[in-house]
Amino acid sequence: MLEQVPVSYYLLLSAILFAIGAGGVLIRQNVIVILMCVEMMMNAVNLTFITFSRYLDSATGQIFVFMIMAVAAVEVAVGLALLVELNRHKQSVNINEFNSLKG
């Protein structure tokens, strides 16, 4: 049953998810939602890796996804810690408020 799905369908789905994530990063101004959209884009890329891993019968794609998951976890932790600090300064999570490089 699963064999019938063409590989391009998976790639197209991840392209759609990536585009939605990119659009979300541009449209939203709430930093928390922007970080969520970045995670969504990473997931879309992961899906591409896994699709090719399946298509080419190679484990390398899965190893890459494993690494990306670790990077994503660190990125979210550091990003949210930065956001909490920024929120302490500006009392806001709107990205338009964070427009100065001065502390």
Binding site: I20, M67, V74
Partner: protein, 276 residues
Amino acid sequence: MTLFLILAAISVIAAFGVIFNRNVVHSALSLLVNFATIAVLYFTLNAQFLGIAQVLVYAGAIVVLFLFVVMLLGADLGEAIPSWITGRNIFLAVLGLILLTVIGTAVFENVISGMQGNFTQNISEDFGQTQAIAAVLYTEYTLPFQLVAVLLTVGVIGVVWLAQHQQRHRFRKVVAVLDSAWEDEAQRDGDDLLRVNWLKREAIFDFDWIEIIRATDEDVERFTRQVGNDPDEWRRSGYRQMRCIVEPGSNLSENTLRLLRSIFGEVQVKKGWVDA
């Protein structure tokens, strides 16, 4: 095929839900649905180990972290969205569509080719999925694997440092000083004591105790008037417990001292030799 289409539809709807929910908590829950459907897609693609890892790391850790921060900061912070259909948003949606067209063309116009590996469905069925991945991870990709461990450590240290950095530069105690002979506005005293010259500043700020070294009755009266009219409820409740040290150099009248006693919990008048 049906399973794929259902999962794809759910994940796309959930992805739109992340963007177009006004409530950040609802966005996070949509993200959870999106991650879950992608985990199921991993299962259909012969990646069971990563499907489980996806559920554990993304749904278990990352979404919970998001929700935690949303609860910590308050969900209503951020943007007020009167309407989604604005010129800017339409322009950005068109940009997103162009991106999708470009990637979609790349997907359909290219013949996907590459070296076929030996990581087939059979091998992972005979040998075990996780074992098959581990065999590659611990032989061919040992160095990247260890670098990821370093990255995680750096991330943990960075987050802890970020959380502590703020405290390190905050003074533990602040003293309000009334000294007419002192020219500076503030002075550090040791590592965690900050002495602020109120006569130079003339504005209310958080302090832990008061030292009156050289000040006229008018100065003190101005100070007490400002403190007495403090609009901050929390700060005002603290004044009753505060200590006010009056040095012998200040020749305050009995009336002014009474005024100080009516505001602060303890007024300590130091006796000593007065310079005439």
